[in-house]
Symmetry: D2
Subunit: 87 residues, 4 copies
């Protein structure tokens, strides 16, 4: 199975933890957090590939994995890159 | 400290786990999950009291706690009731 | 040019006004209006076909048209049907 | 009735048209438009004062008025300032 080591290294702040690609984002307040999550919601539905998203006030945690293979796939890398473009 | 035992019993599906009041909600798809979270976002910002929210495709997990007292407060009960009214 | 007369007749409450397919929706409050608009936002971005949306408190007005042909196209019919499924 | 002439002059790009305070905002795409509208939705529900919002792909038009007095009130000025802070 591909491990996407190089691709993950190029994604600043993203880490592979077990079978997930994860990053934590900080914002100035809840409104900015939720606005970020709204943009992720739209792009992930468009890709038919959805992250797990946890919102805790001004912090947003994203976990990306591909359930079919119980591992990180190319789709997770693509979605992580799209999320980075939103910042 | 008040334990809100009676109030929590009246909140169908909500459970006290350690210092949190929690419930898991299931929807038919991601769009319905996210629409529910949007309504929670608006009412919680209006209350100045924000839950931790985790979205996993068609599942939404809510944790309510009051950080100042590291326990469940009256505000958590009020927010849980408002969330129930959204269903 | 196709006029989609039959398809529009089957779409309850939608009306052709000039080159647009339009409907007005009423909700109990602003939160319900905005939640409806959020779902439309997600499905329209997914279709790459976006309505004009006006939110006035508990009222949401939708105008569908296809700018390339300055008229109603099959895409507008499809999007109107998807919006109806959200109600 | 107060006309808020000075306050409106200080709000860059906002114009008084009849009884409304209006501005048009342009974004790079629909996702950015909708993200802006989401933030306005949250702050306006928090204020219990809601603008009319029209989303046309990458353009967002805002009309502020106070229906009770059929004119611009202090609340419209406050909401316009909060909207400017979102940009």
């Amino acid at each position: 199975m591909e491990d996407f080591e190089k691709e993950i290294k190029d994604l600043a702040g993203w880490e592979k933890v077990e079978n997930k690609l994860s990053k934590n984002f900080k914002f100035k307040d809840f409104i900015e957090s939720f606005s970020f999550v709204t943009r992720i919601a739209i792009i992930s539905e468009k890709m038919n590939h959805h992250p797990d998203i946890t919102i805790s006030y001004n912090s947003v945690h994203i976990d990306l994995t591909t359930h079919d293979i119980n591992s990180i796939s190319k789709n997770d890398i693509i979605l992580a890159r799209k999320i980075e473009e939103l910042i």
